[in-house]
Amino acid sequence: MTLEREVARGTAAVTEVAEQVFATVAEVHAAALRPAAWNGTRAGRPVLGDDVRELLLRPGQLAVGLGLVVAPRPERGLPLRLEWWQVDPDGGRLRTLEPDLKPTSLGYYDYTATEWFDVPRRTGRRHVMGPYVDVHGTGRYLLTLTEPVVVDGEFVGVAGADVPVRRFETHLLRELGPLPAPVVLVNEEDRVVLSTSPRWLVGGLLPPDVLAAGPATDVPGVPWRLVPVDDRSLLSA
Protein backbone atom coordinates (compact mmCIF):
# COMPACT_ATOMS: atom_id res chain seq x y z
CA MET A 1 0.00 0.00 0.00
CA THR A 2 1.80 3.11 -1.13
CA LEU A 3 1.00 6.50 0.30
CA GLU A 4 0.05 7.65 -3.19
CA ARG A 5 -2.58 4.98 -3.51
CA GLU A 6 -3.92 5.85 -0.06
CA VAL A 7 -4.17 9.54 -0.95
CA ALA A 8 -6.07 8.59 -4.11
CA ARG A 9 -8.42 6.46 -2.03
CA GLY A 10 -8.86 9.40 0.39
CA THR A 11 -9.68 11.95 -2.30
CA ALA A 12 -12.14 9.50 -3.87
CA ALA A 13 -13.91 9.03 -0.53
CA VAL A 14 -14.13 12.80 0.01
CA THR A 15 -15.47 13.35 -3.52
CA GLU A 16 -18.05 10.67 -3.00
CA VAL A 17 -19.36 12.24 0.22
CA ALA A 18 -19.48 15.70 -1.38
CA GLU A 19 -21.26 14.39 -4.47
CA GLN A 20 -23.77 12.60 -2.28
CA VAL A 21 -24.69 15.91 -0.62
CA PHE A 22 -24.63 17.78 -3.94
CA ALA A 23 -27.10 15.20 -5.28
CA THR A 24 -29.52 16.35 -2.57
CA VAL A 25 -28.78 19.98 -3.45
CA ALA A 26 -29.59 19.12 -7.08
CA GLU A 27 -32.99 17.81 -6.02
CA VAL A 28 -33.71 21.07 -4.17
CA HIS A 29 -32.50 22.95 -7.25
CA ALA A 30 -34.80 20.93 -9.53
CA ALA A 31 -37.75 21.69 -7.25
CA ALA A 32 -36.98 25.40 -7.61
CA LEU A 33 -37.17 25.06 -11.41
CA ARG A 34 -40.58 23.37 -11.54
CA PRO A 35 -43.07 25.14 -13.80
CA ALA A 36 -44.78 28.06 -12.07
CA ALA A 37 -42.61 27.61 -8.93
CA TRP A 38 -41.90 31.35 -8.77
CA ASN A 39 -45.41 32.58 -9.62
CA GLY A 40 -46.50 33.31 -6.06
CA THR A 41 -43.31 34.86 -4.67
CA ARG A 42 -44.57 38.43 -4.84
CA ALA A 43 -47.51 37.38 -2.68
CA GLY A 44 -45.06 35.69 -0.30
CA ARG A 45 -45.90 32.13 -1.37
CA PRO A 46 -43.07 29.57 -1.18
CA VAL A 47 -41.14 28.45 -4.24
CA LEU A 48 -40.40 24.94 -3.02
CA GLY A 49 -43.10 22.32 -2.59
CA ASP A 50 -43.72 20.67 0.77
CA ASP A 51 -42.16 17.43 -0.49
CA VAL A 52 -38.66 18.96 -0.59
CA ARG A 53 -38.22 18.90 3.17
CA GLU A 54 -38.76 15.14 3.15
CA LEU A 55 -35.29 14.79 1.61
CA LEU A 56 -33.93 15.40 5.10
CA LEU A 57 -35.56 12.22 6.37
CA ARG A 58 -34.11 9.97 3.68
CA PRO A 59 -32.01 7.12 5.16
CA GLY A 60 -28.29 7.90 5.09
CA GLN A 61 -28.90 11.62 4.57
CA LEU A 62 -25.84 13.58 5.74
CA ALA A 63 -27.48 17.00 5.47
CA VAL A 64 -29.34 18.37 8.51
CA GLY A 65 -30.63 21.44 6.72
CA LEU A 66 -31.54 22.29 3.13
CA GLY A 67 -33.50 24.65 1.01
CA LEU A 68 -33.54 27.70 -1.17
CA VAL A 69 -32.22 31.15 -0.33
CA VAL A 70 -33.62 33.88 -2.52
CA ALA A 71 -31.69 36.83 -3.96
CA PRO A 72 -33.49 39.96 -2.72
CA ARG A 73 -34.92 42.29 -5.37
CA PRO A 74 -36.63 45.09 -3.47
CA GLU A 75 -37.69 46.78 -6.74
CA ARG A 76 -39.74 43.70 -7.60
CA GLY A 77 -41.13 43.13 -4.14
CA LEU A 78 -38.74 40.24 -3.42
CA PRO A 79 -37.28 40.79 0.06
CA LEU A 80 -34.59 38.75 1.86
CA ARG A 81 -36.10 35.32 2.10
CA LEU A 82 -35.13 31.79 3.03
CA GLU A 83 -37.04 28.57 2.52
CA TRP A 84 -34.83 26.45 4.69
CA TRP A 85 -35.74 23.36 6.68
CA GLN A 86 -33.69 21.70 9.32
CA VAL A 87 -33.78 18.61 11.45
CA ASP A 88 -34.14 19.54 15.09
CA PRO A 89 -30.92 18.39 16.82
CA ASP A 90 -32.90 17.18 19.85
CA GLY A 91 -35.72 15.42 18.13
CA GLY A 92 -35.58 14.72 14.43
CA ARG A 93 -38.60 16.98 13.93
CA LEU A 94 -38.40 19.23 10.89
CA ARG A 95 -38.63 22.94 11.40
CA THR A 96 -38.08 25.99 9.25
CA LEU A 97 -35.17 28.30 9.89
CA GLU A 98 -36.42 31.79 10.64
CA PRO A 99 -33.41 34.00 11.16
CA ASP A 100 -33.45 37.65 12.08
CA LEU A 101 -33.57 39.62 8.81
CA LYS A 102 -33.77 43.11 10.35
CA PRO A 103 -30.67 45.03 9.26
CA THR A 104 -30.76 47.10 12.46
CA SER A 105 -30.54 44.08 14.74
CA LEU A 106 -27.54 42.70 16.61
CA GLY A 107 -28.67 39.34 15.28
CA TYR A 108 -29.09 40.36 11.59
CA TYR A 109 -28.45 37.40 9.31
CA ASP A 110 -26.80 39.24 6.44
CA TYR A 111 -26.76 36.23 4.13
CA THR A 112 -26.09 38.06 0.87
CA ALA A 113 -22.62 38.80 2.27
CA THR A 114 -21.90 35.17 3.18
CA GLU A 115 -19.52 33.10 1.11
CA TRP A 116 -22.10 30.34 0.53
CA PHE A 117 -24.39 32.87 -1.15
CA ASP A 118 -21.90 35.26 -2.69
CA VAL A 119 -19.54 32.78 -4.40
CA PRO A 120 -22.25 30.98 -6.45
CA ARG A 121 -23.74 34.38 -7.32
CA ARG A 122 -20.41 35.77 -8.55
CA THR A 123 -18.99 32.69 -10.24
CA GLY A 124 -22.15 30.91 -11.39
CA ARG A 125 -20.64 27.74 -9.94
CA ARG A 126 -21.26 25.49 -6.99
CA HIS A 127 -19.37 26.06 -3.75
CA VAL A 128 -18.55 24.48 -0.41
CA MET A 129 -18.10 26.80 2.56
CA GLY A 130 -16.63 25.83 5.87
CA PRO A 131 -15.97 24.71 8.41
CA TYR A 132 -17.54 27.87 9.88
CA VAL A 133 -19.74 29.01 12.75
CA ASP A 134 -23.11 29.92 11.20
CA VAL A 135 -23.39 32.82 13.61
CA HIS A 136 -26.79 34.37 13.14
CA GLY A 137 -28.39 31.48 11.23
CA THR A 138 -28.45 27.97 12.63
CA GLY A 139 -25.81 28.68 15.29
CA ARG A 140 -24.04 25.43 14.33
CA TYR A 141 -20.58 24.46 13.13
CA LEU A 142 -21.11 23.61 9.50
CA LEU A 143 -20.09 22.84 5.98
CA THR A 144 -22.55 24.50 3.59
CA LEU A 145 -22.82 23.26 0.00
CA THR A 146 -24.59 25.54 -2.45
CA GLU A 147 -25.20 26.03 -6.16
CA PRO A 148 -26.68 28.97 -8.05
CA VAL A 149 -30.29 28.86 -9.24
CA VAL A 150 -30.83 30.65 -12.53
CA VAL A 151 -34.26 31.33 -14.01
CA ASP A 152 -34.56 32.87 -17.51
CA GLY A 153 -30.86 33.66 -17.50
CA GLU A 154 -31.06 35.51 -14.20
CA PHE A 155 -29.54 34.55 -10.81
CA VAL A 156 -32.48 34.18 -8.41
CA GLY A 157 -30.82 32.56 -5.40
CA VAL A 158 -28.98 29.47 -4.21
CA ALA A 159 -30.06 25.92 -3.47
CA GLY A 160 -28.06 24.32 -0.70
CA ALA A 161 -27.57 21.92 2.16
CA ASP A 162 -25.85 22.07 5.57
CA VAL A 163 -23.71 19.21 6.89
CA PRO A 164 -22.50 19.48 10.49
CA VAL A 165 -18.71 19.26 10.71
CA ARG A 166 -18.99 16.51 13.31
CA ARG A 167 -21.22 14.36 11.11
CA PHE A 168 -18.93 14.83 8.11
CA GLU A 169 -15.94 13.78 10.23
CA THR A 170 -17.62 10.71 11.75
CA HIS A 171 -18.84 9.55 8.36
CA LEU A 172 -15.58 10.07 6.54
CA LEU A 173 -13.33 8.61 9.25
CA ARG A 174 -15.46 5.47 9.09
CA GLU A 175 -15.26 5.37 5.29
CA LEU A 176 -11.49 5.86 5.28
CA GLY A 177 -10.75 3.25 7.91
CA PRO A 178 -7.16 2.92 9.13
CA LEU A 179 -4.60 4.90 7.13
CA PRO A 180 -0.85 4.22 6.87
CA ALA A 181 -0.09 7.92 7.53
CA PRO A 182 -2.13 10.87 8.76
CA VAL A 183 -3.73 13.19 6.22
CA VAL A 184 -5.30 16.63 6.47
CA LEU A 185 -8.07 17.92 4.21
CA VAL A 186 -7.92 21.69 3.70
CA ASN A 187 -10.22 24.15 1.94
CA GLU A 188 -9.16 27.00 -0.36
CA GLU A 189 -8.35 29.18 2.68
CA ASP A 190 -5.97 26.43 3.92
CA ARG A 191 -8.44 25.79 6.74
CA VAL A 192 -8.52 22.23 8.06
CA VAL A 193 -11.78 20.49 7.11
CA LEU A 194 -10.81 17.03 8.35
CA SER A 195 -7.68 15.73 10.01
CA THR A 196 -6.41 12.33 11.10
CA SER A 197 -3.51 13.96 12.97
CA PRO A 198 -3.81 15.48 16.45
CA ARG A 199 -1.26 18.10 15.39
CA TRP A 200 -3.67 19.83 13.02
CA LEU A 201 -7.10 20.59 14.34
CA VAL A 202 -10.30 21.05 12.36
CA GLY A 203 -11.01 24.76 11.95
CA GLY A 204 -7.35 25.79 12.24
CA LEU A 205 -5.19 27.01 9.35
CA LEU A 206 -2.53 24.68 7.97
CA PRO A 207 0.83 26.51 7.76
CA PRO A 208 2.16 27.02 4.19
CA ASP A 209 5.31 24.95 4.81
CA VAL A 210 3.29 21.90 5.89
CA LEU A 211 1.08 22.35 2.84
CA ALA A 212 4.09 22.61 0.50
CA ALA A 213 5.83 19.57 2.03
CA GLY A 214 2.68 17.43 1.55
CA PRO A 215 2.48 17.45 -1.39
CA ALA A 216 -1.18 18.45 -1.63
CA THR A 217 -3.52 16.64 -4.01
CA ASP A 218 -6.65 18.33 -5.37
CA VAL A 219 -9.93 16.67 -4.51
CA PRO A 220 -12.07 16.46 -7.67
CA GLY A 221 -15.39 18.32 -7.52
CA VAL A 222 -14.71 20.39 -4.40
CA PRO A 223 -12.31 23.28 -3.67
CA TRP A 224 -10.30 21.12 -1.26
CA ARG A 225 -6.86 19.46 -1.13
CA LEU A 226 -5.68 16.38 0.73
CA VAL A 227 -2.25 16.68 2.36
CA PRO A 228 -0.19 13.88 3.96
CA VAL A 229 1.39 15.13 7.20
CA ASP A 230 3.96 14.16 9.82
CA ASP A 231 2.95 10.96 11.57
CA ARG A 232 4.73 11.31 14.93
CA SER A 233 2.39 10.57 17.83
CA LEU A 234 1.88 13.07 20.65
CA LEU A 235 1.23 10.23 23.08
CA SER A 236 4.84 9.89 24.20
CA ALA A 237 7.03 11.74 26.64
Partner: protein
Protein backbone atom coordinates in the same frame (compact mmCIF):
# COMPACT_ATOMS: atom_id res chain seq x y z
CA UNK B 1 -44.14 32.08 16.03
CA UNK B 2 -41.91 33.88 13.57
CA UNK B 3 -39.79 36.10 15.68
CA UNK B 4 -36.16 35.18 15.94
CA UNK B 5 -34.06 32.14 15.39
CA UNK B 6 -30.55 30.86 15.78
CA UNK B 7 -28.39 32.22 18.54
CA UNK B 8 -30.50 35.29 19.12
CA UNK B 9 -33.74 33.48 19.83
CA UNK B 10 -31.96 31.00 22.04
CA UNK B 11 -30.36 33.79 24.04
CA UNK B 12 -33.30 36.19 24.32
CA UNK B 13 -35.81 33.53 25.20
CA UNK B 14 -33.60 31.26 27.25
CA UNK B 15 -35.31 30.34 30.52
CA UNK B 16 -34.64 32.77 33.32
CA UNK B 17 -32.95 31.23 36.31
CA UNK B 18 -31.88 34.15 38.45
CA UNK B 19 -34.39 33.47 41.20
CA UNK B 20 -36.21 36.30 42.85
CA UNK B 21 -37.93 39.26 41.21
CA UNK B 22 -38.58 37.36 38.02
CA UNK B 23 -40.86 39.94 36.48
CA UNK B 24 -38.02 42.49 36.72
CA UNK B 25 -35.71 39.98 35.07
CA UNK B 26 -38.21 39.67 32.21
CA UNK B 27 -38.34 43.45 31.87
CA UNK B 28 -34.54 43.64 31.76
CA UNK B 29 -34.22 40.83 29.23
CA UNK B 30 -36.80 42.38 26.91
CA UNK B 31 -35.22 45.82 27.45
CA UNK B 32 -31.77 44.65 26.38
CA UNK B 33 -33.23 42.76 23.41
CA UNK B 34 -34.78 46.06 22.26
CA UNK B 35 -31.55 47.98 22.94
CA UNK B 36 -29.67 45.49 20.76
CA UNK B 37 -32.30 45.58 18.02
CA UNK B 38 -33.09 41.86 18.46
CA UNK B 39 -36.65 43.03 18.98
CA UNK B 40 -37.32 45.74 16.43
CA UNK B 41 -39.58 48.75 16.69
CA UNK B 42 -43.14 47.67 15.87
CA UNK B 43 -42.31 43.97 16.13
CA UNK B 44 -44.97 41.78 17.66
CA UNK B 45 -44.11 39.79 20.78
CA UNK B 46 -45.14 36.12 21.01
CA UNK B 47 -48.42 35.44 22.81
CA UNK B 48 -48.40 35.63 26.62
CA UNK B 49 -48.59 31.85 26.91
CA UNK B 50 -45.73 31.24 24.45
CA UNK B 51 -43.57 33.91 26.00
CA UNK B 52 -44.18 32.59 29.54
CA UNK B 53 -43.27 29.06 28.42
CA UNK B 54 -40.09 30.17 26.67
CA UNK B 55 -38.85 32.23 29.60
CA UNK B 56 -40.01 29.59 32.07
CA UNK B 57 -42.04 32.02 34.17
CA UNK B 58 -45.69 31.85 35.23
CA UNK B 59 -48.30 33.67 33.15
CA UNK B 60 -48.89 35.84 36.21
CA UNK B 61 -45.22 36.92 36.33
CA UNK B 62 -45.23 37.55 32.61
CA UNK B 63 -48.33 39.75 32.88
CA UNK B 64 -46.65 41.79 35.61
CA UNK B 65 -43.62 42.24 33.38
CA UNK B 66 -45.73 43.25 30.37
CA UNK B 67 -47.62 45.75 32.54
CA UNK B 68 -44.30 47.28 33.60
CA UNK B 69 -43.03 47.35 30.00
CA UNK B 70 -46.26 49.10 28.96
CA UNK B 71 -45.88 51.62 31.76
CA UNK B 72 -42.31 52.29 30.62
CA UNK B 73 -43.56 52.76 27.07
CA UNK B 74 -41.47 49.92 25.59
CA UNK B 75 -44.48 47.75 24.74
CA UNK B 76 -47.86 48.74 23.36
CA UNK B 77 -50.83 46.41 23.50
CA UNK B 78 -53.55 46.60 20.87
CA UNK B 79 -56.82 44.76 21.22
CA UNK B 80 -58.96 42.94 18.69
CA UNK B 81 -58.13 41.41 15.32
CA UNK B 82 -54.47 41.89 14.47
CA UNK B 83 -53.95 42.87 18.09
CA UNK B 84 -51.22 41.79 20.50
CA UNK B 85 -48.19 43.28 22.20
CA UNK B 86 -45.84 45.33 20.04
CA UNK B 87 -42.37 46.69 20.71
CA UNK B 88 -41.69 50.41 20.90
CA UNK B 89 -37.98 51.16 20.73
CA UNK B 90 -37.33 54.31 22.74
CA UNK B 91 -33.73 55.30 23.39
CA UNK B 92 -34.62 57.62 26.29
CA UNK B 93 -36.46 54.88 28.18
CA UNK B 94 -33.74 52.34 27.46
CA UNK B 95 -31.15 54.77 28.83
CA UNK B 96 -33.12 55.26 32.04
CA UNK B 97 -33.59 51.50 32.36
CA UNK B 98 -29.83 50.98 31.99
CA UNK B 99 -29.03 53.60 34.64
CA UNK B 100 -31.55 52.02 37.00
CA UNK B 101 -30.02 48.58 36.43
CA UNK B 102 -26.53 49.92 37.11
CA UNK B 103 -27.71 51.39 40.40
CA UNK B 104 -28.96 47.96 41.50
CA UNK B 105 -25.62 46.26 40.92
CA UNK B 106 -22.58 46.24 43.16
CA UNK B 107 -19.12 47.05 41.89
CA UNK B 108 -18.21 43.39 42.38
CA UNK B 109 -21.04 42.35 40.03
CA UNK B 110 -19.58 44.66 37.40
CA UNK B 111 -16.09 43.32 37.99
CA UNK B 112 -17.34 39.72 37.70
CA UNK B 113 -19.13 40.47 34.44
CA UNK B 114 -15.99 42.14 33.10
CA UNK B 115 -13.83 39.22 34.26
CA UNK B 116 -15.93 36.71 32.32
CA UNK B 117 -16.21 38.90 29.26
CA UNK B 118 -12.45 39.48 29.35
CA UNK B 119 -11.78 35.74 29.54
CA UNK B 120 -14.11 34.90 26.66
CA UNK B 121 -13.20 37.77 24.33
CA UNK B 122 -9.44 37.55 24.95
CA UNK B 123 -9.46 33.82 24.22
CA UNK B 124 -11.49 34.49 21.07
CA UNK B 125 -9.03 37.20 19.95
CA UNK B 126 -6.04 34.91 20.47
CA UNK B 127 -7.65 32.08 18.50
CA UNK B 128 -8.90 34.44 15.80
CA UNK B 129 -5.29 35.58 15.23
CA UNK B 130 -4.35 32.01 14.35
CA UNK B 131 -7.59 30.96 12.63
CA UNK B 132 -9.25 33.92 10.91
CA UNK B 133 -9.15 34.02 7.12
CA UNK B 134 -8.40 37.23 5.21
CA UNK B 135 -12.10 37.63 4.39
CA UNK B 136 -13.01 37.32 8.05
CA UNK B 137 -10.39 39.85 9.12
CA UNK B 138 -11.70 42.25 6.47
CA UNK B 139 -15.22 41.80 7.82
CA UNK B 140 -14.08 42.57 11.38
CA UNK B 141 -12.43 45.72 10.10
CA UNK B 142 -15.58 46.73 8.27
CA UNK B 143 -17.63 46.30 11.48
CA UNK B 144 -15.20 48.54 13.39
CA UNK B 145 -15.48 51.17 10.62
CA UNK B 146 -19.24 51.04 10.92
CA UNK B 147 -18.94 51.42 14.70
CA UNK B 148 -16.88 54.58 14.20
CA UNK B 149 -19.69 56.07 12.12
CA UNK B 150 -22.75 54.78 13.98
CA UNK B 151 -24.67 57.84 15.10
CA UNK B 152 -27.13 56.50 17.67
CA UNK B 153 -26.47 54.88 21.03
CA UNK B 154 -28.40 51.76 20.00
CA UNK B 155 -26.60 51.68 16.64
CA UNK B 156 -23.24 51.82 18.40
CA UNK B 157 -24.22 49.11 20.89
CA UNK B 158 -25.42 46.72 18.19
CA UNK B 159 -22.42 47.25 15.99
CA UNK B 160 -20.07 46.68 18.88
CA UNK B 161 -21.97 43.54 19.86
CA UNK B 162 -21.51 42.27 16.32
CA UNK B 163 -17.78 42.95 16.57
CA UNK B 164 -17.38 40.72 19.63
CA UNK B 165 -19.68 38.01 18.30
CA UNK B 166 -17.90 37.96 14.92
CA UNK B 167 -14.55 37.80 16.74
CA UNK B 168 -15.71 34.64 18.50
CA UNK B 169 -16.93 33.19 15.19
CA UNK B 170 -13.47 33.91 13.71
CA UNK B 171 -12.11 31.69 16.49
CA UNK B 172 -14.14 28.88 14.83
CA UNK B 173 -15.88 28.26 18.13
CA UNK B 174 -19.63 27.81 18.52
CA UNK B 175 -19.29 27.84 22.30
CA UNK B 176 -17.38 31.11 22.49
CA UNK B 177 -19.88 32.64 20.04
CA UNK B 178 -22.83 31.57 22.21
CA UNK B 179 -21.06 32.93 25.31
CA UNK B 180 -20.58 36.29 23.62
CA UNK B 181 -24.24 36.40 22.61
CA UNK B 182 -25.32 35.68 26.20
CA UNK B 183 -22.87 38.21 27.62
CA UNK B 184 -24.14 40.90 25.27
CA UNK B 185 -27.70 40.41 26.46
CA UNK B 186 -26.39 41.16 29.94
CA UNK B 187 -24.08 43.97 28.89
CA UNK B 188 -26.98 45.43 26.89
CA UNK B 189 -28.80 46.03 30.17
CA UNK B 190 -26.09 48.42 31.36
CA UNK B 191 -25.32 52.00 30.32
CA UNK B 192 -23.31 52.47 27.12
CA UNK B 193 -20.32 54.55 28.28
CA UNK B 194 -20.23 56.90 25.24
CA UNK B 195 -23.82 57.91 26.10
CA UNK B 196 -22.29 59.57 29.17
CA UNK B 197 -18.99 60.64 27.62
CA UNK B 198 -19.15 60.66 23.80
CA UNK B 199 -15.37 60.88 23.33
CA UNK B 200 -15.08 57.33 24.71
CA UNK B 201 -16.37 55.99 21.38
CA UNK B 202 -13.03 56.99 19.88
CA UNK B 203 -11.18 55.00 22.56
CA UNK B 204 -13.32 51.94 21.86
CA UNK B 205 -12.86 52.17 18.09
CA UNK B 206 -9.09 52.66 18.37
CA UNK B 207 -8.78 49.64 20.63
CA UNK B 208 -10.78 47.37 18.32
CA UNK B 209 -8.76 48.59 15.30
CA UNK B 210 -5.52 47.69 17.07
CA UNK B 211 -6.89 44.19 17.79
CA UNK B 212 -7.89 43.71 14.14
CA UNK B 213 -4.37 44.85 13.10
CA UNK B 214 -2.87 42.24 15.46
CA UNK B 215 -5.17 39.54 14.06
CA UNK B 216 -4.15 40.48 10.54
CA UNK B 217 -0.49 40.29 11.56
CA UNK B 218 -1.21 36.85 13.11
CA UNK B 219 0.07 38.20 16.43
CA UNK B 220 -1.99 36.13 18.86
CA UNK B 221 -0.34 37.43 22.03
CA UNK B 222 -0.99 41.08 21.17
CA UNK B 223 -4.58 40.41 20.06
CA UNK B 224 -5.22 38.72 23.36
CA UNK B 225 -3.51 41.31 25.56
CA UNK B 226 -5.18 44.27 23.85
CA UNK B 227 -8.62 42.69 24.15
CA UNK B 228 -8.09 41.86 27.80
CA UNK B 229 -6.77 45.35 28.54
CA UNK B 230 -9.66 47.07 26.80
CA UNK B 231 -12.30 45.07 28.65
CA UNK B 232 -10.56 45.89 31.95
CA UNK B 233 -10.83 49.56 31.05
CA UNK B 234 -14.51 49.10 30.19
CA UNK B 235 -15.14 47.48 33.56
CA UNK B 236 -13.54 50.45 35.30
CA UNK B 237 -15.72 52.85 33.30
CA UNK B 238 -18.85 50.99 34.45
CA UNK B 239 -17.63 50.97 38.02
CA UNK B 240 -16.93 54.71 37.93
CA UNK B 241 -20.41 55.36 36.52
CA UNK B 242 -21.83 53.18 39.27
CA UNK B 243 -19.94 55.00 42.02
CA UNK B 244 -20.91 58.39 40.65
CA UNK B 245 -24.55 57.30 40.63
CA UNK B 246 -24.18 56.38 44.29
CA UNK B 247 -22.87 59.89 45.06
CA UNK B 248 -25.81 61.85 43.76
CA UNK B 249 -26.59 60.64 40.31
CA UNK B 250 -25.13 60.09 36.91
CA UNK B 251 -24.19 62.91 34.62
CA UNK B 252 -27.51 63.78 33.00
CA UNK B 253 -27.58 62.12 29.55
CA UNK B 254 -28.88 65.08 27.62
CA UNK B 255 -26.04 67.36 28.68
CA UNK B 256 -23.42 65.15 27.09
CA UNK B 257 -25.11 63.43 24.18
Amino acid sequence: MQLLSGDARRAVFAPLDDGALRSEAVVRRVGSAIALGLLGNGEQLPTETDLATMLNVSTMTLREALAELRKLGLVETRRGRGGGSFVRARDDVLGELADARLAELGTTDLRELGDVHGAVAAAAARLAATRASRTETARLREIVDRLAHADSVTGQRRTEGRYYIELAACAQSVRLTMQEMDLHLELGQLPWPPAHAPELLGVIVASHRAVVDAIEARDAGTARALTEGHIETRTLWSIELRLRAGQGGLVPRREVS
